[in-house]
């Protein structure tokens, strides 16, 4: 498993996968549990929307660990996951300061997760110097490179969009209610976007990473299906810009995946 003989790495990755899986499935499919556990969460569609989003991100990280379980460890995963978990810890801390929430379970779980990933990364033996590939994204295939540039542009656009107008995302989404916690959730999504941008720039320099592309295509498929369900459930309540990004994201990632999957 993980194509390593180091038992500690295997244990760390297994436990990290378990935590990601637990949070992913609970936040996506049993958000009532989360709402019950956190009294400051309002029981409404806005909370449900953001819990689903964060749950999907955690579940996709679990998919990455599952992938590496079969294919072997990939340092690209850590380039994405370590900043992600670290920023989520910062985000949870900020949320606790803002709401006065004193439920420390999430905070402890994510600190443990960070420690597990750090140990696995340090013991995996991968170099910390990231050599430049011969061509952008390590491929000579033009469509893949163009899609990679587009993905970087979209990711940067989302981050810049948040910096310019932090409340814009909620204002453009008719079904979401604007409140401090929802606005804080948008900050959390922006932090996730920062990690996605880091992973894209890593791939631009070092070459495509099988685990990151596979995680991306799983995420894009889940978000596309979620968007389609949202479209038929609330026909008049969607955010057109978000829908455009989800569809574009799906096209970009499936193109990259199917043009390069034989190398993974």
């Amino acid at each position: 498993m993980f194509k390593t003989d180091d038992t500690l790495v295997k244990v760390c990755m297994f436990l990290a996968g378990l935590i990601f899986f637990l949070y992913g499935t609970v936040m996506m499919f049993n958000y009532d549990f989360m709402i019950d556990r956190y009294p400051t969460f309002e029981d409404n569609l806005t909370t449900e929307f953001f819990l689903n989003w964060f749950g999907a991100v955690a579940f996709v990280a679990y998919v990455g660990i599952l992938y590496m379980g079969f294919k072997g460890l990939d340092r690209g995963f850590f380039v994405y996951a370590l900043p992600l978990v670290l920023l989520q810890i910062v985000w949870i801390y900020m949320n606790m300061q803002m709401t006065g929430e004193n439920n420390m379970t999430g905070m402890f779980a994510w600190i443990l997760l960070f420690a597990l990933l750090v140990v696995a990364r340090l013991r995996s033996g991968f170099s910390f110097s990231y050599e430049k590939a011969g061509s952008p994204f390590g491929v000579t295939d033009k469509p893949t490179q163009i899609m990679g540039y587009l993905a970087i542009a979209i990711s940067a656009f989302n981050i810049i969009g948040y910096v310019i107008d932090p409340g814009g995302f909620i204002e453009q989404s008719p079904l979401l209610e604007s409140n401090p916690q929802a606005e804080h959730s948008v900050l959390g999504i922006t932090m996730i976007n920062v990690c996605i941008l880091i992973s894209l720039l890593y791939q631009f320099r070092v070459g495509l990473s099988g685990v990151l592309v596979t995680m991306g295509v799983v995420a894009a498929t889940m978000f596309l299906c979620g968007m389609l369900v949202g479209t038929v459930t609330f026909p008049d309540g969607g955010n057109p810009l978000l829908a455009l990004f989800i569809v574009l994201n799906f096209i970009i990632l499936t193109t990259i995946f199917f043009r390069n999957q034989s190398n993974f």
Partner: protein, 139 residues
Amino acid sequence: MIKVEDTISRVIICFLIILFLFYGFMFVDNEPATAFAERIGANASEVDREHLLLFANLGWVYITFAIAFAACLLAPIEQSTIFFRMMLVGSFITAIRNILIYIGDNGGDNPVPMIASIVVFILINVLYNRAGMRIGTTF
């Protein structure tokens, strides 16, 4: 990574993954499941907790099928024979059932589930043919 070599089969499997995930996600959540029930002619007030639980169970079956199709994409096609045969029989029964429901006395509000089930049956037939699984004596 993908072991299925035929491009059309790949496209069909990917489409089925999205279709099954779409229905799966719709059924596991209360609001989309209620909206679906309304669209097929049920009164929203008649959809109670037990109905939603049954919807969610069905949704998980759909998600499981989506995962199974993804697994088929990653394995040599001949290893998926039994699963495709099961899906062929299952989609045939579902399609016939949905047609009968649609033309029945209380049906006819929304043809989309019937069309979707017929499309799935046709696609799995194409998949089954292209994979050369129809050759044999057992089925």
